[in-house]
Symmetry: C2
Subunit: 260 residues, 2 copies
């Protein structure tokens, strides 16, 4: 119970937030009790499911500095459709300040892990959406996680950054979180008409072989449209390729984690 | 002489690096003496012009902590074609550590400005490629700059983050750099077949009116291919739409800055 999966890649714009929202919603639709935590000061995962950032008084920032209990800042998403299977903890721009504020704490890498330790047992899956960097926020997420899911956009720069990410994951595993595994590398924004997508896909499979998810996420404009409607793709356009690929990713993750 | 333009947006993957490399190369081809500084620990702007990161001993990191003079770490790019009009200062992953190391300095926001103050007069344009965050590295770049160029991907999340960026720019202007102006907002990855691109373009022109560049950068696969060949688009495929749009952006910037 309660697998914590951090979705991270320091390369910007590779589909971290899109993966957290749509994978979490697909698992909820499969009646897995799912929580996601927006841990990016941009708070895209918060607005992407229709939460109005200006109405939220307390966010994950307040939980990691110890001012609120995480149980008091959870929000149920699409309750009529997902019947309480999808819960969200939102973020705010204050998180940028946390990078500096946390420096002075003894156990600064463990703050997120401490804030969520009471509640992970109550969920089948807990996702953490990371900012595009390898700084203290992402280190906190890697420390709190059982595994890390790495979205890889099918482009040159995204491939180039994987070495740096792999080194950071090994460092965290050696120093702070020995149990940290790789959930998988996920190809995103794949466009079969572009030669470069096939090159990147082949390289990824060569370097990371069975750690690469079978499911590939295709470039699909409906995925880019759904956040402006504040809905996961499943509720915005369930027949779209985008929805279908995230449903199949959810099934692959369920199967990899002992199924049913 | 010596206009310093910082290219920034905390949203990841919006085309910051692609804009720095290709705008700088287009200005160099127009015989403007141009320098760009890679200030992102991912060092994409460094590899995007064919520099092998493993061969570089000293980078901008060493210059801002005061160990080297910036004159000693400059690299001429494509000297036969651009005849010394394009020079680069590379980055390295060490920059991630600088965020923490600089915290203890009195004038931590001014480190980049100090490192480059001797040399900006020798160039017509100096660009700074920023990481996808509003942390101390981007604050250093905004402090060192005369103006900021903001690439805006034609998608919902990119538009959403502009409010936060605008507030940060005003704060820097009030507290540290009163001369900081906005060079302009640049629409990137525009695909006229996608409704969302037209929506974002209209919103941008409504909110920021004459600050939006006339030039629009279209989505063009050749722009995504050129970094894997280590060449600016001008040298990879000068007839492509990608090359043409960055040439026209260079002309627009020259005209806006009283140029000939
Ligand atoms: N498969 C896809 N097809 C089309 N558009 C996509 C796809 N996945 C993501 N997008 C769009 O691409 C942009 C980048 O995706 P997203 O914001 O999820 O990436 P990210 O890695 O979370 O970015 P950041 O590094 O800023 O946190 C968004 O505008 C999103 O809507
Ligand atoms: N106009 C364009 N058409 C097609 N692809 C593009 C275009 N501009 C950029 N790209 C590609 O999109 C990806 C993101 O662009 P880029 O890396 O320049 O963004 P960035 O803002 O610098 O990202 P980061 O936030 O990680 O620093 C890259 O793979 C790049 O090659
Ligand atoms: Mg994101
Ligand atoms: Mg970049």
């Amino acid at each position: 119970m309660g697998k914590v999966i951090c979705v991270a890649n320091q390369k910007g714009g590779v589909g971290k937030t899109t993966t957290v929202i749509n994978l979490a919603a697909s698992l909820a639709a499969a009646q897995k009790k799912t929580l996601f935590i927006d841990f990016d000061p941009q708070a895209n995962a918060t607005s992407g499911v229709g939460i109005n950032k200006d109405e939220i008084k307390k966010t994950i920032y307040d939980a990691i500095i110890g001012e609120v209990n995480i149980r008091d800042i959870m929000i149920d998403i699409e309750p009529e459709f997902l019947k309480g299977y999808l819960t969200v903890v939102s973020a705010s721009p204050d998180l940028t300040g946390a990078e500096v504020e946390l420096i002075h704490f003894e156990n600064r890498e463990q703050k997120l892990k401490e804030a969520i330790s009471d509640i992970t047992r109550e969920y089948d899956y807990v996702f953490i959406d990371c900012p595009p960097s390898l700084s203290l926020l992402t280190v906190n997420a890697l420390t709190a996680a059982d595994s890390v899911l790495v979205p890889v956009q099918c482009e040159y720069y995204a491939l180039e950054g994987l070495g740096q990410l792999k080194r950071t994951i090994s460092l965290i595993r050696q120093r702070i979180n020995p149990e940290l595994k790789v959930e998988g590398y996920l190809l995103t924004m794949f466009d079969s008409r572009n030669r470069i997508c096939h090159v990147v896909a082949n390289e990824l499979k060569t370097y990371f072989s069975e750690e690469v998810f079978e499911t590939i996420i295709y470039r699909n404009v409906r995925l880019a449209e759904s956040p402006s409607h504040g809905k996961p793709i499943l509720l915005y356009d369930v027949k779209s390729i985008g929805a279908q690929t995230y449903i199949s990713l959810a099934q692959e993750i369920i199967a990899r984690n002992g199924g049913d």
